[in-house]
Amino acid sequence: MNSTCGPVLAADGTPLKKSLARALRMQKLRALMLVAPLMLFIVITFLAPIADMLFRSVENAIVADTLPETIQKLSEWDPTRDQAPEEAVFETLYIDVFFAAEEKKHTRLGTRLNYELTGISSLFRKSGRRIGRFPTDIYAEQFISQDSRLSDPMFWVRMMNDPRIVRSLPLTARTWTRWTHYLRGEGDDPSMEDVENVFYAALFFDLRNSADGISEVLNNIDISNFESIDLGAEFEAIDEDWVNPSVWRTIYTYSPKYTSGYFLNAVDLQKGLDGPEVRPENQRIYLLLFQRTLVMSFVITVSCILLGYPVAWLLANLSTRTANLLLILVLLPFWTSLLVRTSAWKVMLQQQGVINDTLVWLGLIDDANRLIMINNQFGTIVAMTHILLPFMILPLYSVMQTIPPSYVHAAKSLGATNWTAFWRVYFPQTVPGIGAGSILVFILSIGYYITPEIVGGTTGTFISNRIAYHISSSLNWGLAAALGTILLAAVLILYWAYDKIIGMDNMKLGG
């Protein structure tokens, strides 16, 4: 090629390639702007809430946020030794629980930790109630008797604005900052509020640990003769559980801001000191439910194919008028309330129900041995197959409609039997419809909640029933999110597998 021949230029002098690219970009941008409202809508109202919910499966900030000082001190504690932590931890616990009780966060934390160890809920509730009655007023009295300015909140505000003080009294300063943050949230002014005992206690702990650099402000204070109190014993007096190492081990294990605990719980494991452990056998349930959900959804999908295929074939091969009438019959239950349809199955299937009554009347079964067809897996499969059938029939119908009858005729004229013509010629052409219907039915049934709840009894319930329980009853949203995430992952893996084996391009939802 001749090197003097430059790039082809557009009318305005820019290289044609560039100009084309720009035009294309503009076009794409315009197209994007058209779909942008919908995209935004989906992101804001669908993807973001889901992401937020799924995030809860690992989020565990409540422990570190509520007990920041305790967690820090507790990191020096050895959880493998069968001993409660030392006094210093209880001192920080006193400060943390004081604030937690003020902010009403202690019971929420108790609820959170109670998921891991029974009894922590009431432990925190009791402690929050009693924390204000700890005899820490002796610190206040002793400090104020040495320096009466310490009873004045204004003095504290000024003192805590002094960087030297903040440096030499770190715990007191942090505690004061928490206090001012809390008061500001309530719309109160720290200089107007009484100085709580907790600050004198913090001051005492700080001064005891070091005593330099504060002489200019608190030079007249001498704590060497101070009477002190044993906070560990005070906590023990509330409840002996406070000196129980397993309580502290739970706090220790769940102190990081993110935890794998919910996911472990969701697969019947639990967090131990040396990694995941298997849960006691009488608490294992989730793997069983996941497995049951998948197996039953598969059975429901297969029953839908078996029942739906002939109906769809009939729809596709009848005259338009009859087909339309039949289609309405297929769609009619679709328009009826889900609850009504499920309850109708109850009336049909129960022991004193229509089917059993008929069978007894016909003499096929004995009155004393009526069949149990509901409140078990059978009931769930029957009711859900019925409810999900239209999702199988409609894609099948739309695919079958497009298959020209001449193919089967041709096969037959070439000598194929009815079966061969169907199996070798007709059936392969309906596979995209089966695929689409199966994916729809399977994914819908995996997340089904209301029907298994009503007719499932104990053996026919799905994992979604436990998710609902943790969302609305136990309020263990972290565990619910973990279970939901696993379910979502399972669906995505199946979708991917389907794509690999059959191919998404082969799926047809409409003609």
């Binding site: 608490q283 022991q351 129900g353």
Partner: protein, 363 residues
């Protein structure tokens, strides 16, 4: 012209927004006959007294804690007063989702001047909770299918009382009954249930009837199962049984032995504006006074929470029958009862529920 239109539109929007805030009150309750009793006993009269207020019912009490927590996180609480069972009220109070109140300052005294806190007495189980009714979870049985039982342990006796039973699909109450019928003294039930062995013992007792049990999750299930003859005995709320027996005239009777008392009442959510709180308080002052609580018993067989209301309980508004003998708190019915142990279940709910559900799932 355009500008004028815009101003009109804006002021219209402002007015309608104001109307929505000022006048519509959202009551949260359970739906069904219970909500109806509240509506007729005091919401309707209250609306008549305050014609500028309109009422919207939200039947979300079953998910009150979860929904209020979500509303609180979103910073948009749309409920004004919420009806909740005591256990939920305690949780809401614990989480700071319900307003703490001073019962004597907020609520009407009894007609003889007794302050509200004494009139409600021990039923004030939380600083946020205004009790309304005492209800009980107890057994109903088919009078035509089994002999009349007098003892709750009939539920565990498949020989004398053959047939299927219905129990609630949660550990609360069932484990207590199981231990009681396994020979544990009533005042030791919770000590035993707090131990691993005690929990296993209760489940082992339930194991003896497991194959004959239909587990319910909605209060309407047992009445339907009894009416259809699917079960011969089953637990549910006493008000549901009343309506099966007296309103639907089914051959069902109540076994009051070891009925479990529980409370239901109002809370005010936190995060409301001051005028909405004031309005909620105004409503609650009226709705929980002695006469109003007694009026509620005309529509449903739940015992009024005030001591002073009991003598005022009269006849059913539509059926005309005396309501006092149908109250769970009636001395004839309350010979042997249990009170829901809020503290115990707050601690043990998660743990025992996991075990209970695992036990249920094993076929």
């Amino acid at each position: 012209m355009k500008r004028k239109l815009a101003i009109t539109a804006a002021s219209m929007a402002a007015i309608s927004a104001q109307v929505a805030v000022a006048d519509d009150m959202v009551f949260v309750s359970w739906g069904g006959a219970y909500q109806q009793s509240q509506h007729r006993a005091y919401v309707e009269p209250y609306l008549e007294m305050n014609p500028n207020i309109s009422a919207t019912w939200d039947e979300s009490s079953a998910e009150a804690v979860a929904k209020l927590r979500a509303m609180n996180e979103a910073g948009n609480v749309t409920w004004d007063v919420v009806d909740a069972v005591a256990a939920d009220a305690i949780r809401l109070c614990d989480e700071g989702l319900a307003l703490e109140i001073d019962h004597d300052a907020l609520l009407a005294p009894a007609p003889d001047g007794t302050p509200a806190s004494e009139d409600f007495g021990d039923l004030i189980v939380s600083e946020c909770f205004i009790p309304q009714i005492v209800y009980s979870t107890t057994f109903g049985y088919r009078t035509d299918l089994i002999d009349a039982p007098t003892d709750v342990c009939a539920v565990f006796d498949l020989e004398t009382y053959p047939g299927r039973r219905s129990l609630e699909k949660r550990p609360v109450n069932n484990l207590e009954w199981a231990l009681y019928c396994d020979g544990v003294a009533k005042d030791e039930i919770y000590d035993v249930l707090a131990t691993e062995e005690g929990q296993e013992r209760a489940l082992a007792k339930l194991d003896t009837i497991k194959s004959e049990v239909i587990w319910w999750s909605a209060g309407a299930d047992t009445p339907q199962l009894l009416a259809d003859g699917e079960v011969v005995i089953g637990s549910t709320y006493n008000g549901r049984l009343f309506s099966v027996i007296e309103e639907q005239k089914q051959p069902v009777a109540i076994l009051w032995d070891m009925q479990v008392f529980d409370l239901d009442g109002w809370i005010i959510p936190t995060g409301l504006s001051d005028d909405r709180v004031a309005r909620a308080k105004d409503f609650l002052y009226f709705a929980t006074d002695t006469q109003r609580l007694a009026d509620q018993a005309k529509f449903i067989s739940y015992g009024p929470a005030r001591l002073s209301s009991a003598p005022l309980v009269g006849k059913h508004a539509d059926l005309g029958i005396d309501m006092a003998p149908h109250m769970p708190t009636d001395p004839n019915n309350a010979a042997n009862t249990l009170l829901y142990n809020y503290e115990f279940w707050a601690d043990y709910r998660d743990d025992i529920d996991a075990k209970f559900q695992a036990w249920l799932a094993q076929s």
